[in-house]
């Protein structure tokens, strides 16, 4: 009774959850410690602790969301709603106190909802998927830590805190990719992921430093944004800061040309791929841009231009990812490249000023991509392989649930209405404002090139997913044994995600969508897009029926072409076939060269691993060390040796012959010249050497400094 009243009180004191958002990451953080130290003592190896903690987080995240919505509602239609931040002193420097805390607004609410939802489903799924694994407890401990770190990151009040969260999720990714570290390829993949991200982190460190000083020594996200928008920070500083941060985004969010770690990261267990490398961690870069949008918007002059760094990188990435997804045999790698491509859409959207569309796409993508990954895990559970060509085919007969959910998510990804992917992708395309689409943010001609890139990717996406679905679920089974459908702990999360993949798009129906009441449209944008002064004033693209029809036709076209090839010609050749015997690539030299280029992943891996990393580790490091041993150290040793020699000279000639000779010949101390004295003298060589060494070393230093 009392408890019920207290709970009610908490809800009524509007803002309690908003102000105490730190509890959301606190649950999984605590469960990490509990599982790490006591996990093995629990009957289910600690997984129950993780699930309970993430469930609590989920509940709190939802409550926070509800309070945020009521906050926006109570503010009225046009009133600005400020973000809720709560802070504590974290560290002190030069008399200035720096804070740690939480920042809750619509954006943060979306992210904590996505993270806790997917994480909860992945936790449940994993209890079956990694059952019997020798490091079961450890796996759940790190899932908890990851969830905590990701929530900590998205709730960050300041940029420094963001660095902490950013790196912590990176470490969890490292540990979980390398979960089966007995095999070298797995630990290689883990290292590659971490090191590639480290390269981008140079940009993060520098970008945060630049903005810190440009914004009068503050890390506060709100302050930096406000000052960027009001013009208190010079454009140059914003440009440099934005460029540096973009480097970080490129590595973390798998953008071209630092995306190469992401496909390799598939070496980790599949639930990890779904949670970390599809739905949450990889969108950290996108979130970084969205969170500091004032900086990027002003720094890249997004309003009024027709091209900028973000838009170009995003555009290229969508194409590169989609093209590489075509040549993969490994189902998870298809999905990995697809993720790269979709992340490209989000960055592209932010680059053209379609902020809400980007976050909306982040939201919908999390569900259908997690569904696809978990589906591929379910398949591999049955056939013990990820190789579509040699071990799959015809699985729809044995795995109806996996098949249905996989197809639903594929259609959502391909952008066919009315599924989720369609709505968010269409908003992004409309946001480019190209082809005279009204109301985009861009300037003259708007982002036409980017629009074309986006449309091309839409066709490619639909096509490669058709290929993937055919190779996995149609034709005849090419593997060994009899596949079986997975258990309920795998199927239920799949269905939940599949349903979300259908309905998630409906919360942001475009304005003027006449089938529903006016008040039902653009709900997502209304609650998520900030209205206060820490967010730039961006123009909103008007939805276009023409574009919607065109993009749908383009996607259907992609499906049709791929279906004609696979469901038509390949199947006609043989139900076991995975390609046409004398296909296009075998007949045309150009096509064959193109295929090789794709199969070699544009040779980027060769450049990074072979040339750059190999060069630094090999010749460069060896040369530096050789210089150390034979350059610097030789001088030091020579100084030492020379002084010992000098000591010998002094001792042998001056002391023994000259001085001692005089003494001996003078006959003053004949007894002392015996064996005793010689021993004593010899013992002193080292101290002579020592004194002379000092002088010689001094010379050596002079040489080093002068040369």
């Amino acid at each position: 009774m009392f408890a019920a009243e207290a709970t009610e009180g908490i809800f009524q004191a509007s803002g309690w959850f908003l102000e105490n958002a730190w509890l959301v990451p606190a649950f999984p953080a605590l469960s990490f410690l509990v599982i790490l130290f006591f996990g093995k003592r629990f009957p289910k190896g600690g997984s129950e602790v993780g699930i309970a903690a993430v469930a609590m987080s989920f509940v709190f995240a939802v409550a926070t969301g509800i309070q945020w919505i009521s906050q926006v509602n109570s503010a009225g239609d046009d009133a600005a709603v400020d973000a809720v931040s709560s802070t504590w002193t974290w560290w002190v420097n030069g008399g200035i106190e720096f804070n740690i805390g939480t920042l809750v607004d619509g954006l943060a609410v979306v992210l904590i909802f996505v993270v806790t939802t997917v994480s909860l489903l992945v936790h449940v799924y994993s209890t079956d998927y990694v059952a019997g694994d020798s490091r079961y407890t450890h796996f759940f401990a790190f899932l908890s830590l990851f969830t905590a770190a990701m929530l900590f990151f998205v709730l960050s009040e300041n940029t420094l805190q963001m660095i902490v969260g950013w790196e912590l999720v990176g470490v969890c990714s490292f540990v979980l990719i390398g979960h089966w570290w007995e095999e070298k390829p797995n630990s290689d993949a883990a290292l590659k992921a971490f090191l590639t991200n480290r390269v981008g982190d140079i940009g993060l460190l520098i970008g945060v430093a630049v903005l810190f000083f440009a914004a009068d020594q503050t890390f506060s996200v709100l302050e930096i944004n406000k000052m960027a928008i009001s013009g208190e920070i010079s454009h140059l500083a914003l440009l440099v800061g934005a460029c540096a941060l973009t480097a970080a985004v490129i590595s973390k969010s798998g953008q071209f040309f630092l995306h190469t770690w992401l496909p390799d990261a598939m070496a980790g267990p599949t639930p990890v791929s779904a949670l970390i490398h599809a739905a949450t961690m990889v969108v950290a870069g996108v979130y970084l841009i969205a969170r500091l949008y004032g900086v990027f918007f002003e720094g890249f002059s997004i309003a009024g231009s027709s091209v900028n760094l973000l838009a170009i990188i995003g555009g290229l990435t969508t194409l590169v990812g989609a093209s590489l997804a075509f040549v993969q045999r490994d189902i998870k790698k298809v999905l990995a490249y697809s993720t790269i491509s979709q992340l490209g859409y989000m960055v592209l959207a932010l680059g053209v000023g379609a902020w809400t569309a980007a976050i909306f796409h982040l939201f919908t993508h999390a569900f259908f991509k997690a569904c696809l990954f978990l589906g591929s895990g379910s398949v591999s559970h049955a056939v013990h392989s990820f190789d579509m060509k040699s071990d799959m085919g015809g699985l729809r007969r044995w795995m109806p649930h996996t098949y249905k959910t996989f197809v639903i998510a594929s259609v959502a990804l391909a952008g066919i209405p009315p599924l989720a992917g369609f709505w968010s992708k269409d908003e992004i395309l409309a946001g480019t404002g190209g082809w005279g689409l009204a109301g985009g943010t861009g300037g003259n001609g708007a982002y036409l090139v980017i629009l074309i890139m986006g449309l091309a990717t839409a066709a490619l996406t639909a096509a490669y997913m058709t290929r993937c679905v055919y190779l996995t679920f149609f034709g005849e089974f090419r593997g060994h044994g009899t596949p079986h459908e997975s258990g309920p702990r795998i199927i239920v999360p799949l269905w939940i995600l599949a349903v979300l993949a259908i309905v998630a798009g409906w919360i942001n129906l475009p304005k003027g969508f006449q089938l529903v009441p006016e008040g039902w449209t653009e709900r997502f944008g209304h609650y998520v897009e900030p209205t206060a002064d820490y967010f730039p004033s961006i123009a909103h693209a008007k939805p276009s029926w023409t574009l919607a029809v065109v993009s749908t036709l383009v996607a259907l076209g992609g499906i049709a072409v791929a279906a004609r090839y696979y469901f038509g010609r390949v199947r006609a050749e043989s139900p076991m076939a995975t390609e046409v015997g004398r296909g296009w690539t075998k007949r045309s030299r150009l096509a064959s060269a193109g295929h090789t280029l794709l199969a070699k992943k544009y040779y980027l891996d060769h450049l990074y691993t072979g040339v750059i990393a190999g060069g630094v580790k090999g010749p460069i490091a060896k040369a530096a060390y050789k210089f150390n041993q034979e350059g610097i150290d030789k001088v030091v040793n020579a100084a030492g040796e020379k002084s010992v020699q000098a000591g010998h000279v002094v001792y042998d000639i001056i002391d023994q012959k000259v001085v001692d000779g005089i003494v001996n010949s003078s006959g003053v101390a004949p007894h002392l010249a015996g064996e005793e004295m010689r021993k004593m003298q010899t013992g002193k060589v080292q101290s002579y050497a020592g004194i002379v060494f000092v002088a010689a070393a001094l010379l050596a230093i002079v040489f080093i400094l002068v040369l």
Partner: protein, 548 residues
């Protein structure tokens, strides 16, 4: 209690270990248990003393010296027995009194050949007195004495208990450091003769009192002389840090030293050099420091990249960790070179963090060597399989060492990078921003060599030759308890850096300005090259004219 601590606190803190050493020496050789007990008790007593001082330390006033003792000592040269601690020395003292007992505990089961616990423990205790003494001394001669006291025990530790090449390494360590110290002593003497203590309110002009020297007494020295004097100190401290290119003694000393020797060397000894910069060189000669800062910064960033490349070329795990010290101390020196409160706070934090993290890595390297009898990384592998606890701790320490946020290493590294974006006003922004970018690249290389080391040592499956080796066991109780406090601190400091900043920040702010009487001179933020000590110099010139 306050009165007792004021009068005796620092003296007891410094000399308790020495007393312990004398007791250990007095115990008959056969009675090893007694020697161990006495050694541990005296380090613990020292730690208790330090904790008492911490409790009574006035944090609100961390910027000024506390528990000051000022007694006459060598009257002939006006050198006095002055001790005192502020927020910069406090964390380093606590680090020292933490690490030494852990080393004693660890060594109980790990006396390297030729054993002789009595001598080993006695040396360890003498070493502690030297280290603490350096951190509390406020008179240059006293400082110098303690600075040198450290050398001999370490020399013997390497030379007697070291590896195959121990004699070479020990002599190299000893002579190289001695060479630096000789020049440093010259600089101290020059300060004694050239500075004017009366400007800082002393009765006599010639003084070794560090408080007076950093309180305006050196303004009497011509700028060129200051720059030369600084050069001497630079070499003395720089060799100890070690700064590139004076670092070559370090990998040899570390490779050959017994585990405990390496731990102390990395955890505390290197800090004597950086502490010297922060406590002696910068506050006493701020103008000369500003003139040298670009050079120091350059050598620091060279050290960061160069040390990392050196690491990448190593096959021996312990030598790799040794080279990583060159890189990490580069970050500390970069922070110092910026001459800002930000940078120096980062440096102080970096010193403590590096002490904990690299100390831990050397502990681990020693334990790996005990088990596999080799540190050749091409022969190691599968530590996580054979000794999971050790493997995880190694992974944790590698992460801490590469500067992972949330662990202690980060708070030395990132703020140093941050500070070099905006160095003191007197320094060139362009130069230091270049350094910043180079240093940031160094963080990638650091991740590279540490993770490759981790991969080679811990991942994979054990090699055939060690697969059934009975020596390969997980961490023993002694090892575990020697490590836990350090591991916990790495996490705690990582999440709550304020624990150190609270103390260090006021002291750092204080060390960057020159207080003469009631006047505060903040010379480092002057950008147009005017002489901020003009009045003081005029006054001093007047005096010397009047006197002459």
């Amino acid at each position: 209690m306050q009165a007792f601590l004021d009068d005796w606190g620092l003296t007891l803190l410094t000399f308790l270990p020495l007393l312990g050493a004398l007791l250990v020496i007095a115990i008959p050789k056969a009675d090893e248990q007694m020697q161990k007990a006495v050694a541990l008790l005296s380090t613990l007593a020292t730690a208790v003393m330090a904790v008492l001082l911490l409790v009574w330390f006035n944090l609100d006033n961390a910027g000024s010296l506390q528990f000051v003792i000022d007694l006459s000592w060598i009257d002939v040269i006006n050198s006095r027995y002055i001790m005192g601690i502020d927020g910069i020395s406090l964390p380093l003292i606590l680090l020292t009194v933490l690490v030494v007992p852990l080393c004693v505990i660890y060594s109980f089961k790990h006396f390297p050949e030729p054993r002789n616990p009595k001598a080993f423990l006695a040396l360890l205790l003498i070493l502690e007195t030297g280290m603490i003494g350096t951190f509390v001394a406020q008179d240059l001669i006293l400082f110098f004495v303690f600075f040198e006291v450290v050398l001999l025990p370490m020399y013997f530790m390497i030379g007697v208990w070291g590896g195959e090449n121990r004699r070479y390494a020990a002599i190299k360590f000893f002579l190289y450091t001695l060479f630096g110290s000789a020049l440093m002593l010259l600089s101290f003497l020059a300060l004694f003769f050239l500075a004017d203590g009366t400007l800082a309110g002393l009765a006599e002009a010639n003084t070794f009192d560090m408080r007076a020297l950093s309180g305006g007494a050196t303004t009497a020295i011509a700028r060129t002389s200051q720059i030369w004097i600084f050069a001497g100190m630079f070499l003395g401290f720089g060799v100890k840090v070690p700064i590139f290119p004076f670092h070559t003694w370090l990998p040899d000393a570390h490779t050959e030293a017994p585990t405990v020797g390496s731990v102390i060397l990395a955890a505390v000894l290197l800090k004597l050099g950086t502490y010297g910069f922060v406590r002696v060189a910068l506050p006493i000669l701020p103008e000369a420091a500003a003139a040298w800062a670009p050079v120091i910064g350059l050598l620091a960033v060279i050290g960061i990249i160069y040390g990392a490349l050196g690491c990448l070329a190593q096959k021996d795990m312990k030598r790799l960790i040794a080279f990583s010290s060159v890189a990490h101390m580069g970050f500390v020196m970069l922070g110092i070179a910026t001459m800002t409160d930000f940078g120096i706070n980062a440096a102080v934090f970096g010193m403590v963090a590096h002490g904990l993290i690299t100390g831990m890595l050397f502990f681990l390297a020693g334990s790996v060597k005990d088990r596999y009898h080799t540190l050749d990384m091409s022969r190691l592998g599968g530590l996580l399989v054979q000794a999971p606890k050790m493997g995880w701790i190694l992974g944790f320490c590698a992460m801490a060492s590469l500067g992972l946020p949330g662990l202690a290493g980060f708070w030395g590294e990132f703020p140093a990078i941050l500070a070099s974006y905006n160095p003191a006003g007197i320094l060139s922004e362009a130069v230091f921003r270049t350094y910043m970018v180079i240093a940031a690249v160094g963080t990638v290389l650091a991740a590279g060599y540490l993770l490759w080391m981790l991969q080679k040592a811990a991942f994979g499956t054990p090699r055939e030759e060690f697969a059934d080796s009975p020596d390969v066991k997980d961490a023993s109780k002694h090892e575990f308890w020697a490590w836990v406090p350090m591991l916990v601190l790495i996490v705690v400091l990582g999440f709550y850096p304020r624990l150190i900043h609270e103390a260090s920040d006021p002291a750092v702010v204080e060390s960057l300005v020159v207080n003469v009487g009631d006047d505060v001179y903040d010379c480092l933020e002057i950008e147009d090259g005017t002489d901020c000590f003009e009045d003081l110099r005029a006054e001093s010139a007047e005096k010397s004219n009047g006197g002459g």
